[in-house]
């Protein structure tokens, strides 16, 4: 399984009800169903990914996150997951608010734009960072809303979300000493577990 998903699955209780926003090929949901008795649904818009989900027997719903999540009832899922999609949304703040409304807890992963490599690229070249990990140029990138750990935590604060867990990892999803000491500089990917203000 993808390394970030392996970390996330550990944060999802057995038997819970999960909504996976941007579920890709359904890897996480299929694994959770098989190993932890988790039931759930994945939202996806890529036809190939959807076909793979169907083949795996994952409950995949073709739905664009940018068009909202109003069709999901408040507090109707134990966990709402969104991996590596936050930065590609038109309204990340609205989706985050919706996630907090729908899920008792939310797990979100996203690339940290304040990682030292990004900072160095921008500072030294004066151009938008391009890397193996984020290989797009500014005009064709699907990642239109990059943020840093500090930015994200500010948004959480603004929405009265509670920060339950945070893990800063490198591109291999290793949680080494560096990303522990100075996450916003040395962590490449953030994995957050948050909940709404009213959740207990």
């Amino acid at each position: 399984m993808r390394a970030d998903l392996d970390i996330i699955q550990d944060w999802i209780p057995a038997g819970s009800r999960v909504l996976d926003l941007g579920c890709g090929n359904g890897e996480l949901l299929a694994w959770l169903a098989e190993h932890k008795g988790v039931s759930g649904y994945g939202l996806e818009i890529d036809p190939d990914n959807i076909a793979q989900c169907v083949r795996k027997g994952v409950n995949v719903i073709e739905q664009n996150l940018d068009k909202g999540l109003g069709n999901f009832a408040s507090n109707s899922f134990d966990v709402v997951v969104m991996t590596q999609s936050l930065q590609a949304l038109h309204f990340p703040d609205k989706v985050l608010a919706e996630m907090l409304r729908i899920g008792k807890t939310c797990i979100i992963t996203f690339p940290n734009f304040a990682h030292w490599r990004c900072r160095w690229y921008l500072a030294s070249k004066g151009r938008m960072p391009v890397s193996d990990f984020l290989p797009y140029t500014w005009y064709n990138t699907p990642n239109i809303h990059f943020c840093t750990f500090a930015d994200f935590e500010r948004l959480c604060l603004a929405q009265n979300a509670r920060l339950l867990d945070r893990l800063a990892v490198d591109r291999d999803h290793l949680h080494g000493w560096a990303s522990r000491i100075w996450p916003n500089l040395l962590g490449e990917i953030g994995i957050y577990r948050i909940s709404g203000p009213s959740a207990n």
């Binding site: 169907v54 083949r55 069709n71």
Partner: protein, 379 residues
């Protein structure tokens, strides 16, 4: 002779007829004393009787869904693109049953059948059927064929409604429900179009209150108009634009009201003409009423999630982007209710320019998704 058929066709098929002598109580309060159903089957029922798939037809459909009735038949069954060896509903794996619904005009008991009580055709005296009535009659057909539980019930449009009703009425007798280009109930606009179609038939001077058969005539004009109106709703604006545009039959305009001038007029008249020669007006009225009446959530104060609470089947719901008769939003109502009811469901919104008719057309992504879902069904 069978070598003449395409390799991925079920080939030559022969319709079969089953007679039912047990009276069938109907939603309208009346009952059918005895009746017959005409159906076709493709593929073989396995020893465990676990591979049976039921095909439910739409408004003007019938039992001939796949294959050919003879070597000279010009076109195969209406859903031949999806049923056959290696096709989404793979007849190497599944035993497929396709029937003509009660009230139809293709061999099952309907308004054009003889009423045993009078010795004359039923005509307007044939009871109005509902989707629920059909499902009950289909359950009797399943019993007769030795099918205790369907691996899947599949249908598009009105057929999708029957598939849904199966999951609601007989939760333990269906493992998978595929509702394609369907809706949980008609909108006011849908009913309005049906009413225009009905009025076209009812006001045709040759309708004779539904007893035209006894007089040896058919309300051809009414039926033709009904079909023309219906056909407009089956196609998208884009599909019509692409197919006909403002193309003319001849070079110049005639400045009169009688000539067939635009290509689209010619097409609609042809469709209406062809349809009025093969379809029964009373059946058309009955089918549109069944559509209008379908609203399983009505018994639950309009709460569809509650209606689906007892469902055991897994669902696959598919819609098409340019379908405005049963738009993707209508399919999403079904999906949202299933999610709220905590049922298994896959939902696909296929990008297709063809409108409502898309469910009959071999669109690559549609066929691929359809195949993927059917392949995963355990038998």
């Amino acid at each position: 002779m069978s070598t003449a058929f395409p390799q991925d066709s079920v080939g030559l098929v022969t319709p079969q007829v089953l007679h039912f002598a047990d009276p069938l109580p109907l939603a309208c309060g009346r009952s059918l004393a005895d009746y017959q159903l005409v159906y076709e089957t493709y593929g073989e029922l396995n020893a465990a009787c676990s591979n049976a798939v039921l095909i439910c037809h739409a408004l003007s459909g019938h039992h001939h869904a796949a294959g050919y009735h003879s070597a000279d038949e010009r076109k195969p069954g209406w859903w031949d693109s999806c049923i056959g060896p290696g096709k989404p509903i793979d007849t190497n794996k599944f035993f497929v049953v396709s029937l003509n619904n009660l009230g139809g005009c293709n061999g099952s008991t309907g308004p054009s059948s003889l009423n045993p009580a009078t010795g004359k055709p039923f005509g307007a005296d044939f009871p109005v059927m509902t989707v629920e009535d059909w499902v009950h009659s289909q359950a009797r057909l399943a019993d007769a064929l030795g099918v205790g539980q369907w691996a899947a019930v599949v249908g598009g449009s009105l057929g999708g409604m029957q598939a849904m009703q199966w999951a609601i009425s007989y939760p333990e007798r269906i493992r998978h429900c595929l509702a394609i280009a369907s809706a949980p109930k008609l909108s006011a606009q849908n009913i309005a179009f049906n009413e225009v179609a009905r009025q076209a038939i009812l006001t045709d001077p040759e309708f004779y209150g539904g007893h035209f058969q006894e007089r040896g005539v058919i309300p051809k004009r009414g039926l033709m108009l009904a079909r023309m109106v219906g056909h407009i709703t089956y196609l998208s604006d884009d599909a019509m634009g692409e197919k006909f545009g403002r193309g003319l039959k001849s070079e110049k305009l005639n400045y009169d009201f009688h000539s067939v001038e635009f290509q689209v007029e010619s097409y609609l008249r042809y469709q209406g003409e062809e349809f009025s020669g093969r379809f029964d007006a009373n059946t058309y009225l009955l089918m549109t009423k069944a559509l209008d009446y379908f609203d399983p959530a009505a018994a639950f104060d309009g709460n569809l999630a509650q209606t689906l609470a007892g469902v055991q089947a897994d669902f696959c719901v598919m819609s098409f982007t340019t379908d405005w008769r049963f738009s993707p939003a209508r399919s999403r109502e079904i999906v949202d209710a299933l999610i709220a009811a905590r049922k298994n469901v896959c939902y696909l919104e296929i990008d297709a320019p063809q409108g409502h008719d898309a469910f009959l057309i071999p669109i690559p992504r549609y066929l691929q998704a359809f195949s993927s879902y059917m392949n995963r069904i355990a038998i």
